[in-house]
Amino acid sequence: MNKIREAFSAGKTFIPFITGGDPDLDTTEKLLYALYEAGADLIEIGVPFSDPIAEGPVIEAADQRALKAGCTIEKLLNTVSRVRPNIQAPLLFMTYFNPIYTYGVSKFTEHCAECGLDGLIIPDLPFEERGELLGPCTTQRLELISLVAPTSNDRIAKIAKNSDGFLYCVSSLGVTGERCVLSHDANHIVEQVRLVTNIPCAVGFGISTPKQARDVASFADGVIIGSSLVRIAAEHGRDCIDPVFNFAKEVKQAIGQF
């Protein structure tokens, strides 16, 4: 069993997201340790992009701050290499295709593997376009995570059957960001996936409170939390380690009840 699947084998999986390099790489390194210590089963590291079209204002602003502070793929890969020996949870990059394309797809996947990264999530690379990255990912044993959305309908079976690691289920329409009320779409998506495959389903987009996380964990295998962590990090700057740790721990406890 690969490392990502393994992370789903021991109960409900907590998957926090932070934007790499916001406010700086030192903080990112500390945050990765803090999230792991708080019980993260898998961690998504956002590689900042100038125009992240799937993100809401919180993560877009974090990307801008990180870019302004000089964050690059290369620097983030160094951070990953440094933390890798001390963090057993799988680490994934979430970014857009252009920075990867410019870096060079083969070179990028090779370097990701060398640094011990486990997988990639690329929101602007839908099923039909992933071929360009899938080959090099397979060669390097990196998992390219597929996404399904409330609008995927008859695409769900095709995508789910051909996915690796876990399936990223987008909870609701729109972009990333905290939502007061979660739609019931995610539950429906997970049910449809279950009909065709047993791949683990993690739900993301809009989950912002421990209670919402617990609700999602009642039907999904994993819970992805991004914007609320990034917002806490933004509010506290370099002093964000403790507040992020505390919030992450609360979420972990909430979903651990299943």
Binding site: F49, D51, I53, A54, N98, T102, E128, R155, G174, V175
Partner: protein
């Protein structure tokens, strides 16, 4: 690889949430573009509402002054709403209606596409929201009011560089949140498939008319067609009909802003690199790390860091060439056409006029150039006055 490719360019690089919307659009377009009633309805609107065919005007004074090729101006500026944008908007709005959508959203840079969309939304009793960078809203304040007058809501985009690319980001995000009743009326030959091919097809009326008019007036095809290129819709609309006529030279004029060696330009082919952005693989102005560059042009409509994928392919194939024109050259051409022919072109179109003033003298007198005047310049008078340091309030 997904559908909608021009060589290696194009594709559908968009979030999964939007895939169903573009696939639905692709199917609907395939269906309705072959429906005779749809085609007739669109042609009637183009004739009776937009005012087509647009004139092909022999610019005699300009021809005499430059002393080379005979120059014809394709007067898209005379269309209703003052630019070529209406051709595409009428097509897409009609299609959206057939698809059961009741709301149009669109990005705009200079405001030409926003005004065209707001206009057609009013005509077809559709709700309309326009997304516009706050920088562009400052530059084109009158067009903002114009859109509101037409019943549209104009949303101020403050993110990133607060210009056209950010307006596209905002419209894509809006669409991802609401697509059941909403059509994204994209304004250029860019974005994910089917937009580049569909918008081109709605704009090819320009080139078809150029062919008919040139044969009628001159008895032969032009030697060169010159058009400005931001995303590139008026250019591809002018070029497409002539791609297989190898003897017709196709020239796109892109915005060099303050110069191609300055950081403030939008010359995508000259300075850009191949990448993936806004749903398509094409050339983009970007840094060494693949971050999209903040670009600049005096014309808000060319102030975009990418170019349509079909242009990228025409460039790679050597079938079209793309030349950079600076702000200064565009402003000079703006004034030149006003004084020489009594026609004030849009600053975007002035880029094509500028290259014509350089190129026409190099051709023989029995050769002809068609220049597409994509829009009228009324909207730019205040901006040019500002550029020249003249105080003019509207």
């Amino acid at each position: 690889m997904g559908s909608g490719r021009f060589g290696i360019y194009g594709g559908q690089y968009i979030p999964e949430t939007l895939m169903s919307a573009v696939l639905e659009l692709e199917q609907a377009y395939e269906h309705w573009s072959r429906d005779l009633d749809f085609v007739n309805e669109l042609n009637t609107l183009l004739g009776q509402y937009a005012g087509r065919p647009s004139l092909l005007y022999h610019a005699k004074k300009m021809t005499a002054d430059l002393g080379g090729a005979k120059i014809y101006l394709k007067r898209e500026d005379l269309n209703h709403t003052g630019s070529h944008k209406i051709n595409n908007v009428l097509g897409q709005a009609l299609l959206a209606k057939k698809m059961g959508k009741r709301r149009l959203i669109a990005e705009t840079g200079a405001g030409q596409h926003g005004v065209a969309t707001a206009t057609v939304a009013a005509l077809m009793s559709m709700e309309c929201e326009i997304f516009m960078g706050s920088e562009d809203m400052k530059r084109q304040a009158l067009n903002v009011y114009r859109m509101e007058l037409l019943g549209a809501k104009v949303n101020r985009v403050l993110t990133g560089t607060a210009t056209l690319k950010d307006a596209v980001n905002a419209t894509l995000r809006e669409w991802a949140g609401r697509m059941a009743d909403t059509h994204y009326c994209l304004g250029s030959v860019m974005g994910p498939h089917p937009f580049p091919a569909m918008v081109r097809n709605f704009q090819t009326v320009i080139g078809r008319e150029i062919r008919e008019q040139m044969i009628a007036i001159d008895g032969k095809l032009p030697d060169a067609i010159i058009a400005c290129v931001g995303g590139g819709s008026n250019a591809i609309g002018s070029f497409y009909e002539f791609i297989s006529d190898e003897q017709v030279e196709l020239i796109g004029c892109e915005a060099a802003g303050k110069g191609i060696d300055s950081p403030e330009n939008a010359a995508t082919i000259t300075n850009g690199a191949v990448g993936v952005f806004h749903g398509m693989k094409s050339y983009f102005c970007q840094d060494a790390f693949g971050q999209i560059a903040p670009v600049h042009s005096i014309s808000a409509g060319l102030d975009y860091p990418g170019i349509g994928p079909e242009h990228a392919n025409l460039y790679d194939r050597g079938r079209a060439r793309y030349v950079p024109i600076t702000d200064q050259e565009a402003v000079e051409a703006f004034e030149y056409l006003a004084k020489t022919e009594g026609i004030i072109p849009a600053l975007e179109s002035a880029h094509a006029v500028a290259y014509t003033t350089k190129y026409a003298p190099l051709l023989k007198q029995d050769q002809t150039i068609v220049v597409t005047l994509s829009g009228r310049g009324d909207k730019d008078v205040a901006a040019v006055a500002r550029y020249k340091g003249v105080s003019a309030s509207e």
